[in-house]
Amino acid sequence: MTPIEFWFSILLTLACLSLMYKENPAYSAAEHLYIGLCAGHFFVLAFNNIKNMGVTPLTKGNMLVLIPIILGVMLYSRFDPKIRWIARYPLSFLTGLGVAMTIRGSIPAQLVPQVRAAMVPLNSLDNVIMSVSTLAVLIFFLFTRSSLVPVSGQISKFGRWIMMVAFGASFGGAVMGAMTLLSGRVRFLLQVFMK
C-alpha cells in the first residue's frame, strides 16, 4: 500500500466511523464513493462477462449463444409498460432452470445424506440430543400434528426452543463477524499511532 492509499484509507475509515456520532457530510461522501465504486466494479464485470461469454463466442460462429442473448435482451422489456409481458418468458425460464438445478442436486446430495447422518446409535449424550432435537424440530413443522401425536404440542414447543438455540448461535456468529470487521478497522487505525 502506497502512502497515498494508506492515508486515503485512514480518512475513509474515520469518515465511515463518524456515523457512530451522528449523520454528517464526511460519512455521506464516503457512502456515495463506496456506492459509486461498487457500481463501476459491477459494470466492468458485467461488460467483460457479456464480451467473454456472449460476443466473443458469437464472433467465432457459436450461434447457440444467441438464445441466452435474446432472452437477456427480452428482460429489458419490463421498462416499457406496453411490452412488459415479454419479460415474463425469460423470467419463467430462469425460475424453471433454477428450481430444476436445485432439486436435481438436493435429493442425492442433501436430503439422503442428511437423513442417513441423522440415524445414529443412541450411545452418547451428543447423539441422544441430536436425535431428540431433530425429531422435535420435524414435529414443529407438522401442521396436522394434533390429530397424529397426542403430545405433539409439547414436543413442538421443545422443537421451537431448539431452533431458538440455533438462531441464537447464528446471531452470535453474526455479531462476531461485525466485531471482527470493526476490530480490523481499529487495528488499521492504530497502525498510525503505533508506528
Partner: protein
C-alpha cells in the same frame, strides 16, 4: 438507576466498544486457544495433498465480511502452498471475489509460475447455475482467466477440464453460492472432497454437512483462522485479532445481561408504581 441504564446514550456504548477493541492491540493478551476437531480435520485433509494434486479455491465473500473470511483464506492458502507440487486454481462466484484473490496472489504468489503452478479464473456470474456448469465444464464457464487469457492456453488448465480433475475444493465463504451449492453441484455429483472456512453465523447452519461427512473439515470464522495458524505454527491475522474480538464479545454479552436485568427491574418498578397510584 435501572431506568438510567436503559436510556444510556448509544454513543457512549460505541466509545467503550472501540476502546475495548483497541486495548488488546496495545496490550496484547495471550488467550489459550484449543484447536477444535473440524479445524484439525481440515488441516489433515489439506496435509494429505500430494505432488500434482489440483486444489480449487473459491472465495465467496465481500469487503464487509472480509475481516472474518480473509484470515481463513490466508491460513488455508499458506498450508496448500507449503505442499510441494500442488497446483491451485482460484475461482469465484461472487463479484468481489477477484479483489481478494488478487490480494492473496500479491502476497503469496511471488515465487509461483502463473499458468503452471496457479491460475486465477476470476468471477463467473450465475450463482448455482455457474457452479453446476463449472463442475461439468470449467472451460465453458471460465472461457478466459482474470487476465483475459483464454484458459485453453494455460498449461495447468489443459489438464483440468471438470470437477473430476479436481482433488480438493476449498471454500472460504460468507454467503452464496457457498457450501450448499458446492455440495449439490460438485461434491454430490462428482464426489470431490470439500474443506471450508465459514463465517461464524453460518457455522450452526452448515455443521450438519460436516457431521454427514460431506465436508471434510471447516474453520469457524476468525477463531478457526487462529486455530489453523496454531497448527501451521505461523501466527497471523487470526491470532492477532482474536484477543480484540474476544474482549468485544465479552462486552456485548455483559451488555445483553445488563440490558435484560435492567429491563425487568424497570418493568417491575413501573408495575409497582401503577399499583400504588391505583391504591
Amino acid at each position: 438507576m435501572a431506568h438510567k441504564l436503559q436510556s444510556i446514550d448509544r454513543r457512549i456504548i460505541y466509545l467503550i466498544l472501540v476502546v475495548v477493541l483497541a486495548l488488546p492491540f496495545i496490550f496484547p493478551i495471550r488467550l489459550p486457544i484449543e484447536v477444535s476437531k473440524p479445524t484439525q480435520d481440515a488441516y489433515k485433509t489439506i496435509d494429505q495433498l500430494k505432488d500434482g494434486d489440483v486444489v480449487v479455491m473459491c472465495l465467496v465473500y465481500t469487503p464487509n465480511t472480509s475481516a472474518e473470511a480473509h484470515p481463513m483464506s490466508e491460513a488455508l492458502l499458506t498450508h496448500i502452498l507449503s505442499k510441494k507440487g500442488v497446483k491451485i486454481i482460484m475461482a469465484t462466484f461472487t463479484e468481489t471475489g477477484p479483489i481478494f484473490s488478487r490480494q492473496l496472489w500479491d502476497k503469496f504468489g511471488k515465487n509461483l509460475k502463473y499458468g503452471e503452478d496457479f491460475v486465477d479464473l476470476g468471477f463467473a456470474p450465475g450463482g448455482e447455475t455457474a457452479v453446476s456448469g463449472f463442475a461439468n465444464d470449467i472451460h465453458k464457464v471460465f472461457p478466459v482467466d482474470v487476465r483475459g487469457t483464454p484458459v485453453g492456453q494455460l498449461p495447468l488448465m489443459q489438464k483440468v477440464k471438470s470437477a473430476k480433475d479436481i482433488t480438493l475444493l476449498v471454500g472460504s465463504e460468507t454467503g452464496n453460492p457457498g457450501t450448499p451449492e458446492f455440495i449439490r453441484q460438485i461434491q454430490g455429483q462428482h464426489k470431490t472432497p470439500i474443506v471450508a472456512g465459514w463465517s461464524g453465523q453460518y457455522v450452526p447452519v452448515y455443521t450438519p454437512y460436516y457431521n454427514a461427512g460431506q465436508v471434510k473439515g471447516f474453520l469457524n470464522g476468525l477463531r478457526g483462522a487462529a486455530e489453523y495458524e496454531i497448527l501451521l505454527g505461523k501466527p497471523g491475522e487470526g491470532i492477532g485479532g482474536l484477543g480484540s474480538v474476544t474482549a468485544a464479545m465479552t462486552m456485548v454479552a455483559i451488555l445483553i445481561v445488563i440490558a435484560n436485568v435492567t429491563y425487568q427491574i424497570d418493568k417491575k418498578g413501573k408495575a409497582q408504581a401503577k399499583e400504588a397510584n391505583q391504591a
